[in-house]
């Protein structure tokens, strides 16, 4: 396909550096102690620099940088490839990842296991790079599995907490369920193409039957749904907030959970040939978007609010790439990585300052105490709700209108509605956290908080890092949070669309239907609804009267909330009822009943028969020589008779 091998030593370097970093930090952690943070951050930033240096080479049209690695067997050739799509992810992983590393130095300053933390973070970066740089399905699966492992390690980082341990296991098992979906797609595609390489697979897409493409796409999408927290496999994501906040920012907001978006964009040549698969992905993405937005309205934990908003925003991305608006969906990934990282890091500033308080009911009035955090959160909020001139405005608008352009009016309606809800729950958070009276010293009973519900493990806060160490990365992130969307100004002629060229199949992804409403009208509609959401949040939580009565209102809402909260638990209960408990019952039945009382009992019966036969034959061993002689004669007669009648085998 491609002519000469376009090799660059920078590519393996940027890929392996974080792995070496992880190994070194793991091996020399006790010696490095707090310096581990600087080493880990430096490694990732060098990777970022390498990626930047490769920008020109990687974006040559149709000629990605390639590095062959290892060949398992015929058709199983593993290698790396850096093209515009993987370059984009690489830049975000190492760039935003590097900032989050620096932030973590301050956040984890007083944790004794800081070296282990950075070893895991570096390992995550390596795994994520493996995922996006692989030029084949097996390498992608390896990255896919390893990011799941890194996520497992980091969710369960404080492994003495039973909740963290349970959350880590849940995340891992659900993600393995996703892995087997991709594995199935791999087997199916390999049987058709005799190769695991993306290029070989895409070269034969035209020969696939539509049913086959749908099957392969469903397999791939199971993987996407698990990794990107799509309904109904999303239940691990809110629990994953048990991990340290920088982890939530890096893995469970900016990078790993968007792997599903990457996979669909990567497989655009396959997806574009199956309208049924596109329909399915679009619907699931839209449902996730709606469910996430609805659930975010009812949360009290600041990280869970952000987690559900992440889920909702990934729903937007998945819906976008699903229906064929690849550039728009990927753009939303790009802007989301910045503003959601910023929101999580801002939340981390608050959580850190309040000594691990995550319950927004116990916050309030923080505007005066933490103006920097306020501005960080406000900018992030304006971006995520799609406020004009902020990055999210461009990407979300592109997704919403892209869905309409590709002929899905119902999904379009849901997307517009979710935008309104997004504005509401984000400003609900802003008002509750930053305005009104500070409620940190209000007794839990007054706010109707159940005692165990918010029991945070006390952390050792012997020493604090300098404030700038955590604020500087947030300040840097503010810039792209505002301007990242400007790359797409100019529509199809914008730098963003030219960057990808015809990577997603060019003409195939062009809009199929004339939209019902013009783009301008759509934008205006979204903006009106967003304004409506903000106003609703203001009336309920932000207006002076509401602020004055905040404690009373929060108490009342807490009292009615459990009914609504249970809604989010339905998914958990359904999975437990339909899958987990029957499996355990089956396992218990096997080991407590079938093995000892059916199979072994059968064997015992055989043994009993053997024993009985032994008793019977014992009678023959009488010690009488004449009886023995008789049996010999009988035996010989049988023997002769056999060969006389049946014959000797040649």
């Amino acid at each position: 396909m491609t002519t000469a091998l376009h090799y660059s030593p920078l590519l393996p370097t940027l890929w392996l550096l974080p792995l070496f970093g992880a190994i070194a930090l793991w091996a020399f952690g006790p010696q490095l102690r707090r310096n581990a943070g600087y080493v880990g951050s430096a490694v990732v930033l060098v990777s970022f620099a390498c990626a930047l240096a490769l920008f020109g080479e990687a974006t040559l049209p149709g000629n990605p940088v390639r590095v062959p690695l290892v060949s398992w067997g015929p058709g199983f050739d593993l290698g790396l490839s850096l093209d515009p799509l993987s370059l984009l992810w690489t830049l975000v992983i190492t760039g935003v990842g590097g900032l989050i590393h620096i932030y973590s130095i301050g956040y984890m300053w007083s944790d004794r296991a800081i070296a282990r933390f950075f070893a895991y973070l570096n390992f995550f970066v390596f795994a994520m790079l493996t995922l996006v740089l692989s030029d084949n399905l097996v390498g992608l699966l390896v990255g896919w599995g390893l990011v799941g492992l890194a996520s497992y390690f980091l969710i369960g980082f404080w492994f003495y907490k039973p909740t963290a341990v349970a959350a880590a296991r849940k995340a891992f098992v659900i993600n393995v369920f996703g892995d087997i979906g991709i594995m199935f797609a791999l087997f199916a595609l390999f049987a058709q193409t005799h190769s695991i390489a993306f290029n070989d697979i895409f070269a034969k897409v035209a020969t696939f039957s539509s049913g086959f493409v749908l099957l392969a796409c469903i397999g791939l999408f199971i993987g996407c749904a698990a990794k990107s927290a799509q309904v109904p496999l999303h239940t691990w994501l809110p629990d994953a907030m048990e991990g340290p906040t920088p982890v939530s920012a890096l893995i469970h907001a900016a990078t790993m959970v968007t792997a599903g978006v990457y996979l669909i964009a990567r497989f655009a040549p396959l997806w574009s040939t199956s309208p049924a698969a596109q329909e399915l992905v679009g619907i699931v993405g839209a449902l996730t978007m709606a469910v996430g937005a609805i659930l975010a309205m009812g949360q009290w934990d600041i990280k869970r609010i952000l987690a559900y908003s992440t889920m909702s925003q990934i729903g937007y991305m998945i819906m976008g790439v699903g229906v064929g608006a690849y550039q728009a969906g990927v753009l939303h990934f790009f802007t989301h990585a910045f503003f959601k990282a910023q929101l999580f890091l801002g939340a981390g500033l608050i959580i850190h300052a309040l000594h691990d308080e995550q319950d927004v009911r116990k916050m309030g009035g923080l505007y005066q105490r933490m103006p920097f955090a306020f501005w960080a959160m406000l900018l992030g909020t304006l971006a995520i709700i799609g406020f004009p001139l902020f990055s999210g405005y461009y990407s979300k608008d592109a997704v919403i209108y892209g869905v309409l352009e590709h002929g899905h009016p119902v999904l379009y309606g849901m997307a517009v509605g979710a935008a309104c809800i997004t504005a509401y729950y984000m400003f609900r958070m802003i008002f509750i956290v930053f305005f009104g009276p500070y409620r940190g010293d209000v007794p839990d009973a007054l706010l109707a908080i159940a005692p165990a519900a918010t029991a945070a493990e006390p952390q050792e806060h012997v020493a604090h890092a300098p404030d700038w160490l955590m604020q500087a990365p947030v300040a840097v992130l503010m810039v792209p949070t505002v301007i990242a969307g400007y790359v797409s100004i100019g529509g199809a002629n914008s730098p963003w669309y030219r960057y990808f060229g015809n990577l997603f199949g060019g003409a195939d992804t062009a809009p199929v239907a004339a939209p019902l409403i013009p783009e301008f009208g759509s934008t205006a509609l979204v903006l009106v609804l967003v304004a409506l959401g903000i106003v609703a949040a203001y009336v309920r939580y932000g207006a002076p009267a509401a602020q004055a009565a905040a404690i009373d209102r929060l108490r009342r809402e807490t009292l009615v909330m459990p009914a609504r909260l249970r809604y989010l638990l339905w998914f958990d209960d359904a999975i437990a009822l339909a899958i987990v408990r029957p499996s355990q019952a089956l396992g218990g039945g096997i080991s407590r009943f079938i093995d000892p009382h059916v199979i072994d009992a059968g064997v015992r019966d055989v043994a009993w028969v053997a024993g009985a036969l032994g008793l019977a034959f014992r009678a023959l061993q009488s010690g009488l020589v004449r009886a023995y002689a008789l049996t010999i004669v009988i035996g010989a007669a049988c023997f002769i008779a056999y060969f006389a009648y049946i014959g000797v085998p040649r």
Partner: protein, 482 residues
């Protein structure tokens, strides 16, 4: 040299019996040196010539014929011997059992034997050291498990011996393993092939074990002391699968094809049955035991789908399973030595106190649950690629389910022991000693290397061609374009 691989460990093991009890430490080091020397010799003997000595002329020719240079499927034996010597060496680091060396020699004999009669003799011989250990070391002080193990496996051994004798009578010689890829004797009547194969197959199925012949296995694994259970589960259990590959595929191709369907069903049942049973065990060793039932069922699927990828994957998985199972049982043994229990309900939070032990268990458990990038995944993916390619689409879906279950039970075991709040009422003992780390390190390195590149194990002929050593040989099957 290859004969020495078999004989020296047996003699060394017997000699160790004679050592006085005070020389325990010396005995341990003799064991370690012998087994690692065996590993080096095995590694260097890839292309060593066969050694053959005829010792029986009638009623059929039989010889003491051992070697690695077999063509076709029997070359899988090389990788298993490599694994075997490695696992035994690692196991011996943490215990001092002359029986281990005898077992090492006997098992090596099974995998290097190129003569069916020799194979059958070693097959039965390797029961004896395990049986003796079970009798002597049974934690329950009852010989029930020992007899269960012995009678089950002896039934298989007897069938194997009878089938071997019958084969010798029909074919005139038992010197047949690895000689040919195809039916050895055109004179073998179809009915005879079927019945002889049935004898072999029964022995193989019991040894692996495959549902419903498996119930000896959880008891045996639970009762055997750590280093021996590591070697038994890592290698002895592979003798049956190796038999299907090295003997079944080349000597009884028609019979193998005829029983493919029932075998695939048995494999699928084992796969699910073991995985579900492993979900709820409280004894960590029983979790690993049932997971073995599940994992080896997958290998059976690989063998009986008659596809080059599936077969290559089966060999990879045989070696991979040996590596991670040996690692699992060695680490579980170290936990049991420290905490005096291996019950999940009584353990917890060990990683806080024993981070190195936690790290070791993490890697082997991850390999066992099929983490991409480690050896278990490489085997799984190749087996199922072939399974699907061979047209068994629904079976592929069935085979995928236990991967999720494996993640659940392996993490349950790992977290139950290592994570969560620390349990107070267990002894507080120190982390792994350097020797214990050194014992597990070779397994971990091999787990990672095989995970990165399973190619040489899966497609040895291809690897030999690319590096220019060894005879070029055609792939065992042609990739069908179905």
């Amino acid at each position: 040299m290859i004969g020495a691989l078999v004989i020296v460990p047996i003699l060394a093991g017997l000699a160790l019996y004679a050592l006085p009890r005070s020389a325990e430490n010396a005995a341990k080091w003799i064991g370690v040196v012998v087994s690692f020397a065996a590993f080096v010799v095995a590694a260097l003997s890839r292309d060593a010539p066969d050694e053959s000595l005829v010792w029986l002329q009638r009623p059929f020719t039989a010889s003491f014929h051992v070697g690695f240079s077999a063509t076709g499927y029997a070359s899988a034996g090389y990788w298993i011997v490599l694994l075997l010597t490695l696992a035994t060496g690692c196991g011996l680091m943490v215990a001092r059992l002359p029986q281990m060396l005898v077992l090492l020699g006997a098992m090596t004999g099974v995998f290097v034997a190129r003569d069916l009669l020799l194979f059958a003799l070693f097959w039965d011989f390797m029961l004896i050291p395990v049986f003796l250990v079970l009798i002597a070391w049974s934690p329950t002080k009852s010989s029930g498990t020992a007899w269960k193990y012995f009678v089950y496996n002896l039934c298989g051994g007897l069938a194997l011996l009878l089938a071997t004798a019958a084969y010798g009578i029909f074919a005139g010689t038992t010197d047949a393993i690895g000689k040919v890829a195809g039916p050895l004797s055109p004179s073998l009547p179809a009915a005879a092939e079927t019945w002889i194969f049935a004898g072999f197959a029964l022995a193989f199925l019991i040894k692996t074990p495959v549902w419903p012949l498996h119930t000896w296995m959880p008891d045996t694994y639970a009762d055997l002391p750590p280093p021996m259970v590591a070697v038994v589960s890592a290698v002895q259990s592979k003798a049956g699968l190796y038999g299907f590959i090295a003997i079944g595929l080349s000597l009884f191709p028609h019979a193998m094809a005829a029983v493919a369907k029932p075998m695939l069903v048995l494999g699928a049942i084992s796969l699910l049955y073991g995985a579900f049973a492993a979900l709820v065990q409280d004894d960590a060793k029983r979790i690993v035991a049932y997971s073995s039932l599940s994992h080896l069922g997958l290998v059976l699927l690989g063998i009986f789908s008659f596809n080059p990828y599936a077969l290559g994957g089966a060999i990879v998985y045989i070696v991979a399973h040996g590596l991670f199972n040996a690692g699992l049982f060695i680490t579980l043994g170290e936990i049991e030595v420290r905490e005096d229990t291996r019950s999940l309900s009584r353990l917890g939070g060990l990683a806080a106190r024993n981070p190195k032990l936690g790290g070791a268990l993490t890697i082997v458990a991850l390999a066992a649950l099929g983490l991409p990038g480690l050896c278990g995944f490489a085997g799984e993916i190749l087996i199922m690629t072939g399974l699907y390619q061979a047209g068994h689409h629904k079976l592929t879906v069935v085979a995928l389910i236990p991967i999720v279950l494996a993640a659940a039970y392996m993490l349950r075991a790992f977290q139950g022991m290592m994570q969560g709040p620390e349990v107070e009422d267990v002894p507080q003992r120190p982390d792994m000693t350097p020797l214990e780390i050194f014992a597990i390190a070779p397994l971990v390195v091999a787990i990672v290397l095989l995970g990165i590149d399973p190619g040489p194990v899966a497609f040895p002929a291809r690897a030999a061609q690319t590096v220019g050593i060894g005879p070029a040989q055609p792939p065992p099957f042609v990739v069908s374009d179905k």
